[in-house]
């Protein structure tokens, strides 16, 4: 689509307030040979129950419908894998459905759960996501991922999804990054940050203490992207319990945290980048119609929107999400972000799509230090910290679970329980991981509002999940 009708630009509205009361996740790793998927899902649900001081059976007794996300039937080699998990969780004969939107599956699954509660169909729902990416070796895994591209027009070209993605990175790198060494270093800094934050996260698959030079020396995957610029391929599960107000209050009566309000918005764009057509930039509340007039002058070649450099689906997901929740400027109105850092460069592209910086200026979010827990330039807390979980580069990308893991991460900050969840010695031991001697509490102090972005492939689906402390809303009747 290149022009929206007024019907298509309706601002979404939930028919009643919806809350996330708890969540949980399994250990994440490249392979987990000693556990079946259902064991990982049970780990996640058991953790969710524990956080609100309930037994799994008590929590289950509230669940009315269940929403399951896993990206690839062929990775798990099991059609209707959702039904297997549902049975093993002992939730039959409740209504259940599987959700698939590629990399955005972990965002789309709560999207469905939230709508079920908002409509009144259910008062309490389970949103659970997982991925089993260790059933095939990496080459075969790359083949399976490439099956998510158009099988006649794209997949035969190398069966390597990174390549289809990387052409977009190349265009951004040259037009907006001007192929500068300094921009290359900024990209590397993102990888250093995410692997570094992962060191404080016992769940994380790839904790690493590395430098910008390490990233720039790592093997080229598709120039300018190197191995350390790319996300992980992981196994694991994550879940969230999503309720109406009455159930949320009841479920948290013995919990040390109160429930958070949750909204999810979603958008899409062509599966093949080849099908993208030019259009005007849809503006966010913190942008003005004339601010992009000279974009092509400042960045020659940058006037074609979305071209291969913008993710229209990310732009539209927040276009709906910000208006639905009253966010005007994410820098002022939100306290933390979890972004879909599939690649360091796509992380930067997303800063622009979601209005953290204007188009063309994404790198400044990193270079200013705003994206850090503690801004290394000022020594003060970062203005809008992102990916404290370690993101897809440092923590995990177990596709169907990713968006839920990131939503849970944001919630853990608003609940002020980050240190408790990540610092617990018992958990480090249980996962056979060593808690670093310099383990640091990365709780974002006083966090009241945050957002997680979930993104599929070359931008075919994107969701924006916005969480807020119920006493710190931005808009009445949101």
């Amino acid at each position: 689509m290149i022009k929206f009708s007024k019907h298509q630009l309706k601002v979404p509205k939930l028919m009643r307030p919806v809350y996330m009361v708890t969540g949980g996740q399994s250990k994440f790793d490249r392979a987990i040979p000693d556990k079946r998927t259902e064991e990982l899902c049970i780990d996640a649900l058991t953790m969710a129950a524990g956080l609100i001081n309930m037994s799994p059976a008590e929590l289950k007794s509230y669940i009315h419908t269940a929403y399951y996300g896993h990206f690839a039937d062929h990775f798990g080699d099991q059609l209707l894998g959702e039904a297997v998990i549902h049975d093993r969780l002992g939730l039959d004969p409740l209504g259940t459905i599987g959700i698939k939107t590629g990399g955005a599956t972990g965002g789309s699954t709560p999207w469905e759960a939230v709508k079920a509660v908002a409509s009144g169909y259910s008062d309490c729902t389970l949103a659970m996501g997982w991925e089993r990416m260790d059933e095939v070796p990496t080459d075969e895994g790359n083949f399976l991922i490439s099956c998510a591209a158009d099988k006649d027009w794209e997949s035969p070209l190398g069966h390597i999804y990174t390549g289809y993605y990387a052409v977009m990175a190349q265009r951004y790198w040259q037009i907006f990054g001007k192929a500068e060494d300094s921009f290359r270093e900024t990209l590397a800094e993102i990888s250093v940050k995410h692997h570094g934050y992962a060191r404080m996260n016992p769940f994380a698959h790839s904790p690493k203490k590395i430098t910008v030079a390490d990233v720039i020396k790592s093997p080229v995957v598709a120039y300018p992207l190197r191995a350390l610029d790319c996300c992980l391929m992981s196994v694991g599960a994550a879940c969230a319990i999503i309720c109406d107000e009455k159930t949320a209050i009841e479920l948290t009566k013995n919990s040390s945290h109160k429930p958070v309000r949750i909204w999810v918005s979603a958008a899409s764009h062509t599966l093949r980048p080849a099908d993208r057509r030019d259009m005007d930039i849809p503006l966010l509340p913190n942008e003005t119609p004339d601010q992009y007039k000279d974009l092509g002058k400042r960045f020659p070649g940058g006037d074609r929107y979305p071209g291969f450099t913008g993710f229209l689906a990310a732009r539209m997901a927040v276009w709906y999400g910000y208006r639905m929740t009253g966010v005007i400027d994410p820098n002022e109105d939100l306290d933390l972000l979890e972004l879909h850092d599939a690649f360091t460069i796509s992380d930067v592209q997303t800063y622009e799509d979601i209005g953290v910086r204007p188009y063309g200026e994404g790198r400044d979010y990193v270079e200013s230090g705003d994206c850090y827990h503690m801004n290394p330039k000022t020594g003060e807390p970062g203005k809008l910290p992102s990916n404290i979980s370690g993101g897809l580069i440092g923590c995990m990308h177990a596709v169907g679970a990713t968006g839920i893991m990131q939503t849970f991460e944001v919630a853990s900050h608003i609940w002020n329980r980050w240190a408790e969840i990540h610092g617990d010695e018992k958990r480090w031991k249980e996962f056979a991981r060593e808690k670093p001697a310099d383990w640091t509490d990365l709780q974002v102090k006083g966090a009241k509002r945050g957002m997680a972005i979930s993104h599929a492939g070359v931008g075919s689906h994107v969701t924006a999940t916005i969480l807020m402390d119920p006493d710190n809303l931005l808009k009445e009747n949101a």
């Binding site: 689509m1 083949f143 006649d152 069966h159 190349q170 080229v220 980048p273 080849a274 057509r277």
Partner: protein, 196 residues
Amino acid sequence: MSMFGQVYVKDNKYRIKGDFHHLTPNVPIRNADEGWKLMGVTNPRDMTYIHSYGGEAQFFEALGEGKLLGTRCDNPDCEFKGTVYQPFRIHCADCLGKNTVFDMTKLAKTTATVHTFMVCERAGAFNTLDKPIKFVNIEFEGVDTILMSYLSVGDPEIGMKLLPIFQTKNPTCTILDLSWVPAGTKAEELPEGFTF
């Protein structure tokens, strides 16, 4: 000796011959650290699919004949009448009317330009292209979309002028029958089986 699965269509029905799967035994997966106790099992599976190109079949057929077909919406009632599609699109994305098919080989030969590219060092299983794979995304004058393909000669650059080449000898009948070379490339530099 087994025979690769083969298919043809007669009376609008698939007629199949040969083997569409190959048996490979499964093997147990055991734990070397714990007395070789059982952990799991491999599940080999080699299977041939039967896939219809439907309304795009003429596009893939034409590649083997050295022609690049595009499509255009000529529906007078379409708000965006005149939209030109490459990738070949059977129906207009806006009005869903049936597009007009046209031969854009000459347009490609005169206006194909690299919009962006990527040199990819890795490939997935079943890849048949030489590595590194040089992806090119190609703009054409008057075409609304940007085709993804691969470069067979030289190194890509944004803005570079390209010429299409076609696997006209023993075509694979896939998108790989279309490739590109920098303008000025000589016929003898083309890969085996390809012609301008």
